[in-house]
Symmetry: C2
Subunit: 198 residues, 2 copies
DNA sequence: CCTCCTTTAGTCAGTCCTGACTATCCAGGA
DNA sequence: TCCTGGATAGTCAGGACTGACTAAAGGAGG
């Protein structure tokens, strides 16, 4: 049904998108990713960047254009996007937007094991999370406000607004959860079922 | 500051948690993970399950207990958790709950490239997402309702409630986004800035 | 009784990815 | 003048992960 991507790493999508603009060498791509703030949406290291470009080359989505060496610097290979690459960006982008993917946040795993902790301990750690979330929300709001003040159009900030929406939803969820855990019924039933442990 | 886990894969946490209960062989662990619905929070394959158990053994968090072979079946190695393992579960769980981790949803990457699509195309694909999200929400609600009807306590359904909260937040976000993209101002400014492309 | 499908149980080749490393240039302080 | 730190640019060993494979037993259907 759903054909597997030749280079499934989302970093590859960002790379292709930048190469749509103009040919570049890997290090320059890294700089753009960082300056545009896309490193907040994509987990990568410099090595994985080189790896992904190699994979994209094998897949035929990009092609090395030239190897320049100016002023005794290490030589840099400039890559350009191919027609297949252009097609891949468009197709991949449509798919990512249209089809929600099952995501696997670490927090969900931890929640599924919440019953292992004594109620008061659970309340304590979740309160710490709530405070940390509040901090993240504040940071993101500041980032967005500053960018807006610099004249950045809203369409280039949607991803931050999305993060914000998720953070706020999580914070509401955690707050409610703490309230539920504080109910004396919970402490009682936890004692009854989990009393026998180390 | 934050010490790296010896076995960072979240599957390892779930494995340790099950072994807290009683010693088991890998295949049995796989069955429990599936039956308890934890396969909805953790991405894994059977091979990664064996890999992770091997890593846990090397890390000293679990230890092979015995190799049984009943009725000519392939032999199964039963693993038990160690004291280090017990400590690791507790410590890891607390950390995961208390500290929000930067997550990297694919959708956020796609959103950061939304401006590449013509406005009407963007609206079209996001509407499809919205419909798909509605389906997911419905499914999750059903799962929760059925479990509750079977007498499952709410604490064992928190992870589903969390998924639900995120799905609903995302749906609200997408709905609002579609409205913004439909504004004629957007179509106009997109034409102006992106008119020059293939 | 034969065949085919499903379940049980695990292995393995090859790719992917990360962390650590190499090496050069330039600016600024001591 | 020398030393240090940071930016530039990239490589590489080794471990982690996936998809495809092996293999035996049980049950259903003809």
């Amino acid at each position: 049904m759903e054909r597997r991507r030749k280079v499934p790493n989302p970093l590859a999508l960002a790379v292709l998108a930048w190469l749509l603009w103009e040919p570049m060498h890997p290090y320059e791509l890294g700089r753009r990713l960082k300056q545009s703030g896309q490193d907040r949406q994509i987990r990568y290291t410099r090595s994985s960047l080189y790896m992904v470009i190699e994979q994209l080359t094998r897949a035929g989505f990009v092609a090395p254009q030239e190897t320049v060496r100016d002023s005794a610097r290490p030589e840099r290979t400039v890559y350009a996007i191919t027609d297949d690459g252009r097609h891949e960006v468009h197709d991949w982008l449509r798919t990512l937007l249209a089809q929600p993917r099952q995501e696997y946040p670490h927090f969900a795993v931890a929640l599924s094991l919440l019953s292992l902790l004594p109620p008061d301990e659970a309340v304590e750690v979740l309160r710490r999370r709530s405070a940390a979330l509040a901090g993240r929300i504040e940071e993101t709001r500041t980032t967005v406000a500053e960018a807006r003040a610099d004249g950045v159009a809203w369409i280039f900030l949607v991803e931050e607004e999305y993060s914000l929406a998720l953070l706020e939803a999580e914070r509401r969820f955690v707050t409610d959860l703490v309230e539920s855990l504080k109910q004396p019924d919970y402490a009682k039933s936890w004692q009854e079922t989990m009393g026998d442990r180390t």
